[in-house]
């Protein structure tokens, strides 16, 4: 267990990625849209000031975009993923242990450093990441993970901190807790926040002053852990390796409404294949596959329908072919004609490691052949890009594919989409 955690958090990460390759966007309001250009999922500070909310539907802001008061981008996860990698790898040069917490956040083990000025080191980290990758970051340092979160949030907000805050002195920690609203504490959702405020707990400091028994009674063991963490007692370790996921879901809204079985199947088969690939990447197999379909709940003219079906497969698998086969059976069971479908999804659960599969005596599938085929397919996908080789059920036309009318180029991963630099100016 380390004695000191750093938390590095990229400022407005998606918008910052777009700005690295188009600095004209600096200081301008930028938003990034969800899959299918449906609604706002990320906002630059300037966009927040314009009053744009998370989840605002695109039609609400279209006017601002058309008049260049606001710059909107379709989500470009290829670019964001690569930039995230660069940030995380830069961070891992500064400490032997890191935990990549999300696409734009990373915990660093800063304990056990001998004779180092923490402030100077934190600045060094922040400066290096921004210089190397172009992404601005905030950095918080504290004795526990939850306090590092507090430090990071204040580092971002306070002009004095200017992006870096080290909380090691008890007096500073108390001040920081006092300046943190209870709803801004890591892991406190809106319901708990309401409940706590009703009991006159308005800040993180009030929370730490509450008795542990009272917290245990009203907020389960998770609340107790948070209480300890904020009081400086570390209970959350650095998870250096992400645990294999217990359930994987791939679901998207369609680019347009679909009504025929074949179209919905094409999309659903592709989601099944995506789940299979994710399973193979984490070296696991799944036993249960669930398929769901739904119409557009926001459309008042459409008749509404939602249904799902779960199938237990004879042997846990990570093969595209098998998962698509069972997903198709599940879809056949729930698909009804004469509806406008807006979304379908595939969820795989009961996930076990590859080497712990219970085989079936009556199993007729040549699993070794499947495994070899999948290896070859994954190899081809890695070499030639997505969707170059696939199971035929996933279709060729892909009329259901997502809209992404405002996508920036994949500047860092595709040789055909590099930024342009001019010789003469």
């Amino acid at each position: 267990m380390t004695t000191l955690f750093g938390l590095c958090d990229c400022n407005n990460f998606y918008a910052s990625c777009e700005r690295v390759f188009d600095p004209t966007l600096n200081g301008k309001p930028v938003v990034v849209l969800s899959n299918n250009d449906g609604c706002v999922i990320a906002r630059s500070n300037e966009a927040k000031s314009l009053g744009i909310q998370m989840g605002d539907p695109f039609f609400k802001i279209r006017n601002l975009v058309e008049h260049k008061h606001l710059y909107a981008f379709s989500s470009n996860y290829v670019l964001y993923g690569d930039m995230s990698d660069r940030v995380m790898q830069t961070l891992s040069l500064f400490t032997p242990n890191v935990e990549v917490y999300s696409i734009d956040e990373c915990f660093l083990d800063l304990g056990d450093f001998y004779d180092v000025d923490l402030h100077q080191y934190a600045w060094e980290i922040k400066r290096t990441v921004t210089q190397w990758t172009g992404i601005p970051v905030s950095f918080g340092v504290a004795p526990t993970k939850a306090l590092a979160k507090v430090a990071n949030k204040l580092a971002k907000k306070s002009a004095k901190a200017n992006g870096v805050l080290v909380l090691t002195e008890p007096y500073h920690i108390e001040k920081a807790l006092q300046a943190t609203k209870i709803e801004d504490v890591w892991g406190v959702g809106s319901q708990y926040a309401r409940f706590l405020k009703n009991h006159n707990i308005d800040t993180a400091l009030d929370f730490t002053n509450a008795s542990e028994n009272w917290i245990r009674k009203h907020m389960t063991v998770v609340g107790v852990r948070l209480h300890k963490e904020l009081r400086g007692e570390s209970c959350l370790e650095l998870d250096e390796v992400a645990p294999p996921k217990k359930g994987i879901c791939t679901s998207r809204s369609f680019g347009k409404k679909l009504t025929t079985f074949d179209d919905v199947l094409e999309a659903t088969a592709s989601y099944a294949a995506k789940c299979a690939r994710k399973l193979r990447n984490q070296k696991s197999c799944a036993r249960l596959v669930t398929v769901f379909v739904q119409t557009n709940p926001f459309s008042e003219n459409d008749r509404q329908y939602y249904n799902s079906k779960t199938i237990c497969m004879p042997v846990a698998t990570s093969s595209d072919i098998e998962l698509i086969h069972y997903a198709t059976l599940a879809l056949q069971a729930i698909f009804k004609p004469n509806y406008w479908y807006k979304k379908s999804g595939v969820i795989v659960t009961e996930i076990v490691p590859e080497h712990q599969i219970q085989f079936d005596l009556l199993d007729t599938v040549d699993r070794e052949k499947h495994n070899n085929l999948m290896k070859v397919m994954d190899g081809l996908t890695d070499r030639f890009g997505r969707s170059k080789v696939q199971v035929a059920a996933q279709g060729i036309s892909k009329s259901w594919i997502l809209k992404s009318d405002y996508k920036s180029p994949c500047y860092t991963t595709r040789i055909t989409e590099l930024p342009i630099v001019y010789i003469q100016k």
């Binding site: 032997p96 060094e124 190397w132 860092t412 342009i420 630099v421 010789i423």
Partner: protein, 154 residues
């Protein structure tokens, strides 16, 4: 890179993890793969193949590429359609080609320091050098470390 003095105590901290090279570890292919018969005298002298990307890219996390547009300039030896390999971790120093952002576009210039003042020199004498001042919204984006282009057919 680090000015702060850091001496990690734990011994395992000295292992450098570089994921980039972990995901494609190349194994040398033995020249003599027939167990019977005469072993190749070269077997004990096998080395990894030259990895061009390792040679071109010193620091993968800070290295980006851009595509050149504009008419060819003999002085700078940079042509239309070339690829520039740019390292953001390097400091602009006198005489180095840099990519900077001017008037809404990326452009290549030569960074010059004259009597403590910084200038950006175009490779084309038709254009004037620009002095870099504090109040200018001009940032050096990165330093050009390689210019890649195909040979010109003569």
């Amino acid at each position: 890179m680090c000015n702060a003095k850091v001496i990690p105590i734990s011994s395992y901290a000295l292992e450098l993890f570089d994921f980039d090279f972990l995901d494609h570890v190349k194994l040398p292919l033995y020249a003599s793969y027939v167990s019977a018969g005469f072993p190749s005298p070269a077997d004990d002298y096998l080395e990894d193949k030259i990895d061009l990307s390792k040679y071109l890219v010193q620091n993968p996390t800070s290295t980006f590429m851009m595509r050149v547009k504009g008419s060819s300039m003999q002085d700078a030896k940079i042509n239309d359609g070339d690829i520039l390999v740019i390292d953001r971790s390097l400091k602009a120093a006198d005489g180095l080609p840099v990519v900077c952002f001017l008037d809404g576009e990326f452009t290549v210039k030569t960074f010059k320091k004259v009597e403590g003042r910084a200038y950006l020199y175009p490779a084309n004498p038709a254009y004037k050098p620009i002095e870099v001042t504090e109040e200018m919204d001009m940032r050096v984006w990165g330093v050009v470390v390689w210019v890649l282009h195909k040979p010109v057919k003569l």
